[in-house]
């Protein structure tokens, strides 16, 4: 069938993307899995902070606000950078940075955080400071992937609503699964530090896949 002969509106949506089906699927999987990790990690962060500050509503307000602040910064920066480097190299960089930071959180959770908290006077200040250290950087990085995913897939401006809406929905689906699986399955079975290391490990593998995609995609663009 002669796809080129038809107008953009009559081709199926997966033919109207800036990427082939394989690469587009990778982006979709990334959006879902990073969504999983983003809010799964929020639950992990709560487990890191509640022993120090209790599980009261102050702790939760701090965690939620810092997570959303991280995403806010990530969306904003990610949008700017994605327009400049709209390819899988940025995806790889995002994942590997997040993996590296999660490893640092893993190390901090072994005791470094406690010494940081002890050095700060004032309960609420200490709560916000440790929340910033644990949640903010990884959430910036994870937030950056959302605008990048739209930038990677979007070809026709008339599809912007469908594509961005679909990606946001997939991301939110990943969020939901991430919260539920982390809270009901992972925290009771393997504990917060193993989850943090596991998320980091997954991001390393996923980052390697993005590197491979960048290499293959680069080659394809040469042809």
């Amino acid at each position: 069938m002669s796809v080129a002969a038809r107008g953009p509106g009559t081709r199926p949506i997966h033919r109207r993307l800036a990427l082939g089906v394989g690469a587009a699927s990778l982006v979709v999987v990334d959006v879902a899995t990073l969504g999983f990790i983003t809010l799964g990690f929020e639950m992990v962060a709560s487990r890191i902070l509640t022993p120090q500050f209790g599980s009261g509503i102050f702790t939760w307000a701090t965690i939620i606000s810092i997570v959303v602040a991280g995403l806010m910064a990530g969306y904003f920066l990610g949008g700017i950078i994605a327009d400049r480097y709209p390819d899988f190299r940025l995806a790889a960089l995002i994942k590997l940075l997040a993996a590296g930071y999660l490893l640092m959180v893993f190390v901090l959770a072994a005791g470094g955080l406690e010494s940081l908290i002890d050095s700060i006077d004032g309960e609420i200040t200490a709560l916000f400071a440790s929340g910033m250290v644990i949640c903010f950087p990884p959430l910036i990085v994870l937030g950056m992937y959302s605008p990048l995913s739209v930038r990677l897939l979007l070809l026709e401006p008339t599809d912007a609503g469908k594509i961005s809406g679909g990606l946001f929905a997939i991301s939110s689906f990943g969020n939901i699964v991430g919260i539920l699986v982390t809270t009901f399955v992972l925290i009771p079975s393997i504990g917060t530090r193993a989850i943090t290391a596991g998320f980091a490990g997954f991001l390393v593998v996923s980052g390697a896949v993005s590197v491979a995609a960048a290499v293959i995609h680069g080659r394809r663009n040469d042809v």
Binding site: V204, G218, R219, D222
Partner: protein
Amino acid sequence: MSKHGTRPPAKKPAPKGSSGILLWAIPVIAVLALGVAAAFLVLPPTGEEAAAPIAADGAPASAEPGLVTKVESLYNDIYLYRQPSGNYMLSFGAKRLRYVESIVNPDDELELPVFYTQTMTAGLAFAKRLEDAAIIGLGGGRTAWYLHKSIPDLRFTAVELDPEVARIADRYFGVRQEENFDIVIRDGRVHLSRSEAAFDVILIDAYRGPFVPFHLLTREFYELVGEHLKPGGVAIQNVEPTTMLFDSAVSTIGAAFDNLAFFSGRGNIVIVAYNGPELDQSEVLARARKRQSEYDFRYDLTEILARRFEPEWDTTTEPLTDDWAPVEYLKAVERHNRKQS
């Protein structure tokens, strides 16, 4: 930047760009992969973290003196220490919030090393009968086990939210399910509201580290407790004044019960609450004498009654309700006030 469609020419030659990524990506991935592998290697095998080995003389072998075990449960970070005296100390939370839940002498199940747990028994002199009792918040199980062992016929139900706490009480303190001692793993309020059982004594000692879960200190909760008391039954509440503001506690429990009696627990205050006509002191003392001779309590009930006192409180304080229970805020206010004084 480049417009859509003009992107390839604007970019550097693709082959260089695509292999260029490998120059940084491969070392970065290798380092991170090693880090993840190392992370999993240092992790303890299960939920229970590798405890610092304790030498035979009790000398700790790690930086955490006396740490026997640390368990991360769904609700708490539980630390169990062995003190130089040989007693176990159960605490929740890390460093800043490390909060002693229980002290246990493993060689003497009737010892109550924490003063207020002795005071908790004061309510036994107020209850009309001693047939059925329950505690909300098992913790180390001191008070519950003391009552169970002192009054063998008492049918005792211990309600504990955290299965890991119950597991530690079983493994290290010998507190376990047996005849006339039932352990229910459930939220105390949820259990009461789904249960038809009625008790002569309900003890309430549900703390999560330094916090009382807010749904266990509202008027609705205490009304629920009252509904599960038999006629002549009593509720006994441990109040840690720094966590549950005393004025609010009195106001809230007072909103649900006709009579309150206060007992000193060295820092903690034990409130005995019951409905119906107020018992006069001689009646209470008579019951205490009778029960003391019947059960031969280690901590003489008549002496415990001497810990009674009449505190002062702000009678204008609003009771806490399910709708309005700013417990974290109260704690902050209290702390602030203490700093000012």
